[in-house]
Symmetry: C2
Subunit: 219 residues, 2 copies
Amino acid sequence: MEQYDASKYEKPSVAVDLLVFTIEDRRLKLLMIEREEEPFCGMPALPGVFVRMDETLDETAERGIAEETGLSGIYFEQLYTFGDIHRDPRMRIISVAYMALVPVEKLAYKAGERVRTAYLEDVEDLLAGDKEIAFDHRKIIEYARWRLANKVEYTDIAFHLVGKLFTLPELQIVYEVLLGKELYKANFRKKMADLIEETEYMTSGEAHRPSRLYRRKES
Amino acid sequence: MEQYDASKYEKPSVAVDLLVFTIEDRRLKLLMIEREEEPFCGMPALPGVFVRMDETLDETAERGIAEETGLSGIYFEQLYTFGDIHRDPRMRIISVAYMALVPVEKLAYKAGERVRTAYLEDVEDLLAGDKEIAFDHRKIIEYARWRLANKVEYTDIAFHLVGKLFTLPELQIVYEVLLGKELYKANFRKKMADLIEETEYMTSGEAHRPSRLYRRKES
DNA sequence: TCTAGTTAGTATATTATTACTACTAACTTC
DNA sequence: GAAGTTAGTAGTAATAATATACTAACTAGA
């Protein structure tokens, strides 16, 4: 990096692309926008924002999430950086992808305030077949999908997809959707035991046995 | 990303920082350079290269690895992108960190041809205490160290730190160094059994029982 | 008010993995 | 040929993962 005056050379633009995931009706959903201009006009795309000179990448991601969902303080993490030369046919744009996880209740609540018309797309449907997706966003989504399935096994990310209080069947559905396979109830409960604590509350009103509400344990 | 003409705005520079890891004498080592100018003159730093407009990020990483080690075709993967505003005090530089793994024999072999005077630093020593490291490179190294320990548990990356033929004690040392803990020989061998295949070759010349050489299984 | 339908939750057996000890094998050096 | 050293194997106890079968508690509708 020495002997190199960066100001002399042409620079790429840097953007942040956002993958806001949620779970609704036992399905993994992703916040997408429909492109309203060329290239890829009319096709689904990930929402994105350019990185400003006065903000860090994390700040750019936070700003983007706020612009798309009206939400702040939700969980997000950097995913991967995509830098193919012609990934945007207009110019060189390097994109840092960020993934956010949000319980669907929060998203629905803010739906009216969204800046652009973003909508939830079923991820498996979106990736099935060879439906067209703008830019290299299919690759980005596939990578995120893989990462989610992977990380759910060795981290606690699943908890970001449920509210403060949740039932164990609800949490199990999150795990099952992310992993893409069914789990054994008894085993699942054993494994969660250390991570959660009982509350006094129960669900009610459904045509079956009520379910206890839990919260995540601090420690 | 619509309604935004990126060419109007100031852009950050984008660089690739390289973490070339190897294992030598049962220790994890990292290829570092000594900075020869301000800022951080005299301090250890990660080698890095700027991203050119005509190359992808992966190509930049490959070029950088070749410049530092004279090697091509070695294993590498993108690690994380660091984008704090003043991480380089001179100007805004967003850095995409890449991690490469190479058996120490390969590195030693090419030592004479290196473009810059890079040297191997013991990672635990480097991170111990509060030794000064240039830029935000301590944070980058700590993250890579964590990722290595993590990934060795659920991937095959360890194999990239041994040659084509290797003994099981040698492979076990790689696992132990990356995990930072000792393993039980018998269990380790059972777990590796599916991943490797025997060769007819044995080590020789050492003052103890010779060790069989294995190779990685294709399937 | 009783029964069917439905989901919540528990008990327990089986299998696989991990943790650990103890040994035997094969080389070099002195 | 004995001592030192590392390679490699056998086997066992403790723990965790996998799997099945059951009981519990609600609503809806007859």
